[in-house]
Symmetry: C2
């Protein structure tokens, strides 16, 4: 394995650098997810690229098939994302089927690319009439190019293979040639290429990639994309990014855009960008995000809603938006070193993103609501009541594939002589810290439990910084068995000198079940509580409960029992409360008949949110009324 | 004025007949609305038919203009609906401008109609490529034909003019010829023509119109329309109407369909229809409707949601759905004689429908949410924060025009020797009751106050039945000053012999402000109350209040004062409660810091919901948290 086989590389202005070395996942939760992804999800995705036509769309360009174009205009991006996932996985170790897909697809992409570098089957195909570069709002050509670049970056970093990079740079050079100059007004309707270009700049050192990414960010907000069906704000094109303090419009577009803009900051040090991005982050974190880390409150335009508009049942909370928030959080962490970005990353990863894939790894949610009503009929894939094997708009499944295949790249960062553990999972870390080799073994079942044991195998006395999650109200830390009394500094526990060979640091994060309430303005969950243990949000699922989950109320004064059964994301939890009966009118006078009498006390069995929907279909809810 | 100038005529199987005679609105609320409609709204609509291109779409067919086709595919229906409104108004009295529009438009429609009876400019125009009768799901040809028929019915009933009827019957005959036979699988993607055809049958006695309406109802549910963007349920095409007990899919489509199906029942007596319609009505009334009588919980497909999915902020509650519910309620009343349909009609009329038009009569809401958040930015006309002068999809404004122009047709019904007053407003009623002439004067400011004075000018001793609204918990009734102690029978107060010349009946409906709560499963308004006085739903509007309406909480134990200022829909109301301060985290532990402290007691000034949005823009909410 090559070193620095991570999605992002060191930046010029970041206060945090990605680990310059190798992280190998062990027998913890993320390791299990990565292996399931390799064993089941990616092969499933490769099969669907065949059966749904995405590969044939490309093959048809060189006469290998007569099949008509299928899928959405951005179908190529599904191929690129699976290819990126496969590259990361081949970096983890060889596999004949993955290798075959990789070799075939790299060759196919090179074969279909036009002389001038253009590569987008939806516009190259003779059975499609749209002209190239005429529909920036909806055409997704720059979006697809961005995903091609990211796949190429993965194949270089994970495999040292630059064949795909050749195709990607030819495509990127075309973009630079056409749209990089000051005379061009262009930018993509769906951001993506911005952070791909910055990473290509990091890989190649060619400044025109960074400049073009910056131009796309700078130009946006002029209204040049038009209003489309949902207005300019849908595209974040209603105002320049630097003048905007709120999150609005299509959630995935907004999060990819801000990831790209953060990368541009990381390379340019342009504070006007970081200030706007920080305001927008705060707006998202404090007014427009779900307890699960999901974003996007509206189905109609898959968009952020008004402040505090956070319905559970109609939460869109697209899986890709969860991943986009992880991308942005990771870059904001690099820009600022602040632990809170790690908190958000963790919340999204273990809740909204984890929810996106089934326990068996072969079925997917596109939207991730926090409530499913008992009679919900999903006539549309956008509001599916169960995970589906694939989607017409199949952006989410391949996004999950590349995320789990490269998740180790987001676990730690370095700041001078300090190694920061941002996320905890069983892993082996080898890095360099101001020239000094550092090797750690992290042993933990986190977030299933809160004990993290870190053995320093090699080290020269540097600082180990441990993120204390904002949900954590009590923790203990020992070094070589001796308790330490170190204050938490803005989410970081800094253990100076701990990176000394032979040291054993044990961090114990208190992880009781906590009962949470929402801000008074979140109308959708007024009078309700949610249960969270560590980063894991819980839910009531009908299959676990005898009483109708839409008629129960929890009594937070009664004890909540952790550990009544185990799930892949942690112990089941039992709360207590009542059941409300009686039909009741839809609207009645407040002093009317007591039709909602509560009967007895019942046990309310809760499970980690991301594990719901793997058993018998039925209702689900994260927020439960208080009795 | 001709007699029976009402939208619906007597049916074969209805237990209630529309009044066989004339109802003239007086100086009450509905009279004021009807006059505003005539004076402002209809002239405004005529102007917009010019400026938005709907009339030119037709004129272009006969070479009167070169303007390209503008507006949605169903733009003709806007012309038909305004024409219907104008016909009803010319029946109320002549007006030069209305007459000119009427004559010009009747002549224009006759001139552009094809030899075979086809009349739909969106498909007749050379600048539009779609072939006729090829897109039943979205083409709206039958929908437009239905509105043409309804305009023609109005011109016959209100004016005795059968010129438009000639065009409408030619168009209807084409529909019968093409799609009336048993070999045709066709039915409209947007129901409308069904109840138009039944009314045409009532007017002409030609059974093929009824048969074709019945065929459209009977065929629906086969999935023949395809899935479109939102699935077959969007079109109510997922299952036959007779096998369906729930409301689902696009709300206006569903309500127009059920209005047509009820009309088919009224003429055929087919109980299998009425049973299904009754179940669907109950589902709507008890699980899928807003306190305002609005329906449609989802913006994405303008559709009914799951049971109890009734968000205030994202309520779609389209004005046309409110009108559709009135149409359906009126027909269910004719089918059953049940007062509860009058209750729903009244709720919809004075809340969601009244909300659709501004105080000045020249601006309109398309969706009628029950909450507007303080920072709501309406980038789309579908979620406008203020009433707009017109819409690209302009279905609602002309629908309001024809509704107010014919509202007197929905106020009363007869059942043998019984005259039933279903809605109360100042009016003069002349009718025949089993051959006997009956003349009443109704004097009232209802629903501004609860006193209704009915003077029997002529009458032969028949029964007067008065609807006691379900919201009314106390009432008094006198005849010639003598109190009567008559039990309420399923919402009806029957006064035998009261229809005697010279009798004066005074009904006093107790109309205190009532504090309402919603069914426990309506998650969106848990922990909230609403205030209603009589049929009028109230709201908090920011412009009336110093405290932020999203931070206040009402204390229902404190007195609620009625009468603190007057609005066009009744007195203002003052409740009392607290204000919650402190920024507060988006999510925090239940036992966390008391960041939501309540400060002092404040007056919460409430106004009738339908009057909001006429002053300074700002937040609004119907449901207010309880302190």
């Amino acid at each position: 394995m090559t070193s620095t086989a991570h999605p992002t590389a060191v930046s010029r202005h970041g206060v945090i650098a990605p680990v310059d070395g190798e992280i190998v996942l062990g027998e913890g939760l993320l390791g299990r997810w990565q292996r399931r992804n390799r064993r089941v999800t990616i092969p499933h995705g490769i099969e669907r690229l065949e059966t749904e036509g995405a590969l044939d769309n490309l093959r048809g360009l060189i006469g290998e098939t007569d099949a008509p174009f299928r899928g959405p205009v951005f179908a190529d991006s599904d191929v690129h994302k699976v290819l990126e996932a496969v590259a990361w996985e081949l970096g983890h170790g060889e596999d004949p089927a993955l290798r075959r897909f990789y070799e075939d697809t790299v060759a196919l992409l090179a074969a279909v690319q036009d002389e001038d570098g253009y590569l987008d089957s939806a516009f190259q195909r003779a059975d499609r009439v749209q002209r190239r570069w005429t529909d920036f709002a909806a055409g997704h050509e720059l979006y697809c190019t961005g995903h091609l670049i990211q796949a190429a970056v993965a194949s270089v970093r994970a495999l040292g293979d630059d064949r795909l990079l050749a195709a990607a740079t030819r495509a990127a050079d075309l973009v630079v040639r056409l749209f990089g100059g000051p005379e061009s007004p262009a930018y993509p309707g769906h951001p993506e290429i911005e952070y791909a270009l910055v990473e290509l700049y990091r890989l190649t050192g060619r400044a025109e990639y960074l400049d073009t990414a910056k131009a796309f960010i700078d130009r946006r907000g002029s209204g040049w994309l038009g209003r489309g069906a949902f207005g300019a704000a849908y595209f974040q094109d209603d105002a320049p990014l630097r003048e905007t303090t709120v999150m609005r419009g299509h959630a995935v577009r907004a999060l990819y855009l801000n990831s790209g803009a953060t990368d541009v900051f990381l390379e340019t040090g342009d504070d006007t960008l970081l200030r706007a991005l920080t305001s927008q982050w705060d707006d998202m974190a404090t007014r427009r995000s779900y307890l699960t880390g999901g974003t996007g409150s509206r189905h109609r335009d898959e968009a952020f809603g008004d402040a505090y508009e956070l319905p559970s049942d109609r939460a869109y909370a697209e899986t890709c938006a969860g991943i986009g928030a992880m991308h942005w959080a990771w870059r904001m962490y690099q820009a600022t070193g602040k632990a809170r970005f790690g908190d958000f990353f963790e919340t999204a990863l273990y809740n909204v993103v984890a929810d996106g894939v089934s326990e068996d790894g072969a079925a997917f949610f596109y939207s991730n609501p926090l409530q499913l009503r008992p009679d919900h009929v999903s006539v549309q894939e956008e509001a599916a009541a169960r995970r589906l094997g694939w989607y017409f708009c199949a952006c989410c499944p391949p996004n999950l594939m590349r995320t789990f295949a490269s998740i180790e790249g987001y676990l730690a960062g370095t700041r001078g002589a300090e190694l920061q553990l941002l996320q905890y999972t069983a892993s082996h870390i080898e890095t360099r810290l101001v020239g000094e080799r550092v090797v750690l073994d992290v042993d933990t079942e986190y977030p299933l439990d809160g004990r993290i044991r870190i053995t320093v195998v090699e080290g020269g006395g540097g600082t180990l910084a441990l993120r204390i999650p904002s949900w954590c109200v009590s923790h203990e830390v020992t070094i070589d068995g001796r308790p330490l009394d170190v204050p938490v500094d803005a989410g970081w526990l800094r253990l100076d000198g701990a990176l000394t060979a032979g040291s054993v640091v044990v961090l114990e994060l208190g992880m009781p079940a906590r009962v949470l309430t929402a801000h008074r303005r979140v109308d959708a969950v007024r009078g309700c509580v949610a249960v969270r243990r560590g980063p894991i949000v819980y839910c009531l699922e009908q299959g676990d409960n005898a009483s109708d989950v839409d008629d129960v109320a929890v009594d937070p004064s009664l004890p909540i029992v952790v550990g009544d059964g185990m799930t892949p994301l942690g112990p089941a939890i039992t709360a207590r409360g009542g059941v409300r009966r009686g039909d009741g009118a839809l609207y009645s006078t407040l002093t009317g008949e007591a039709c909602d009498e509560s009967v007895g006390t019942v046990e309310l069995r809760m499970r980690p949110y991301a594990t719901w929907g793997n058993g018998r279909p039925g209702a689900m809810r994260v927020w439960v009324p208080v009795s």
